[in-house]
């Protein structure tokens, strides 16, 4: 029991130190510093939201269009940048492996946590600002919103854990990943409601775990009017084995990792 507590203590120290290092190297200490982590997703979501509003008018599926786009786009950007940060994460951070208490899992976890915090902050900030201006509703069910985020984050982390070791094993994969991430857009559930799709299409997209998570989040924000389509167990049945596979691959790749 004592050694477990000790191990936990080391784990917390390592993650803490790595997060601070990540924030300093990526964003520096100048001007707004680490707050930059939410600027990119914020700008992305806002610009795309305004673009849609300009093209399609103020409403989409009876919801405010900017709120609709923002709720879809920020999680999608989380997925995209998490994968981007996972590629070659071990090689880029090789010098950390000089310290035996830092495991390669910590390296992926830290990059993911920083992305997650940044995107959740962007989401919250956006909701508050749009809400104050009257373009974003008070969440219908906060619990569902959080649950949806949890499912979305779990899926993202699981995929990240698989991509990071694979990108070290194959150079082809490393080059192809950025393109395939774009293919995820229709399967992220960001730009439609499942209930608005034709049944055949709805059936297909529901094979994608993040669609379930997105529907939960949107239900949490907008309420039953969107007629959410989700399943509690399917996304887990996908993400958990994926997570396990990722852990196995990490273990395998650690053996052959060459550290400068």
């Amino acid at each position: 029991m004592a050694s477990m507590r000790q191990g936990w203590g080391i784990q917390v120290r390592v993650i803490h130190a790595l997060i601070i290092r990540e924030l300093i190297t990526r964003f520096g200490r100048e001007n707004i510093g680490f707050l930059w982590i939410m600027v990119e997703p914020l700008l992305f979501a806002l610009l795309v939201g305004l673009l849609w509003r300009g093209m399609k008018g103020p409403l989409e599926f009876g919801l405010d269009i900017v709120a609709f786009v923002v709720t879809g786009y920020i999680p999608l950007v989380l997925f995209r940048s998490s994968i981007g940060r996972a590629v070659n994460a071990f090689t880029a951070n090789g010098s950390f492996l000089y310290h035996r208490q830092i495991k390669i899992l910590d390296l992926i976890l830290v990059r993911f946590i920083v992305e997650l915090i940044g995107h959740m902050m962007a989401y919250l900030f956006m909701a508050l600002v749009l809400g104050a201006l009257g373009f974003f509703p008070w969440p219908y069910d906060l619990g569902f919103l959080i649950l949806g985020w949890f499912y979305y984050a779990l899926f993202t982390l699981a995929v990240t854990l698989v991509i990071a070791p694979l990108s070290e094993m194959s150079e082809v994969l490393e080059k192809v990943i950025p393109v395939t991430v774009y293919m995820m857009i229709p399967f992220s559930g960001a730009f439609y409601l499942v209930s608005s799709l034709v049944p055949a299409a709805a059936e297909v997209v529901l094979y994608s775990p993040p669609v379930h998570a997105m529907e939960m989040m949107r239900y949490g924000v907008f309420g039953p009017s969107i007629d959410p389509q989700y399943d509690f167990s399917y996304p887990l049945a996908f993400s958990l084995p994926c997570l396990a596979l990722g852990l196995l691959l990490c273990r395998k790749v650690r053996r052959r990792l060459v550290v400068e």
């Binding site: 130190a17 601070i20 300093i24 190297t25 010098s95 000089y98 035996r100 053996r255 990792l257 400068e260």
Partner: protein, 215 residues
Amino acid sequence: MIICENLSKSYPAGHGRKQILKNINLTIKPGERVALLGRNGAGKSTLIKQIGGVELPDRGRIIRTMTSSWPIGFNGGFQGSLTGYDNARFIARIYGVSYGEIREYVEDFTELGKSLGMPVKTYSSGMRARLAFALSLAIEFDCYLIDEVILVGDSKFQDRCREELFRKRADRALLIASHDMHIVLELCEKAIIIEDGLSYTYSSVQSAVDAYLEK
């Protein structure tokens, strides 16, 4: 004690793999100062990385019953994009020691002054060596793994290294990879020659040096 049993390690080379370490057996007892001799490319750094746990061997095992430092060299162990101070803070955090103490020690030992506030990638190799040494000596280990970097720099810094490593920490074990036979003869009590991926242990440093220089 640190014991390596039948250690082997290869690196990818083109389509195949190059066998660097074939069958390494060695023991470092507490307080023992061991020299690691070998030509450039013989696998000294590779061996030190395996012992330090930076890389994992293909086969064989390493038994550690005492704590060992990370491999102390010009690279690794610190972050080029961070300043000297940030590196000290990072080391303090992950090893769970107080930053105040480390900071004081690093300032005093490296004598780098304002440069400690600059990114490490702007440092010369002499400055890096000073920082690497200071950071690792600021943490107490039973065994220090030193890769080439020992006693570089000016004579004042060399004296400082001797003082810290061989007098204040006379009870610690050391594994030193070095090409400087004077240092090896002066400081070590045992030597290991690495050649063709195999290890040869000599209990007399003089005979090891003679054998090494003959090759």
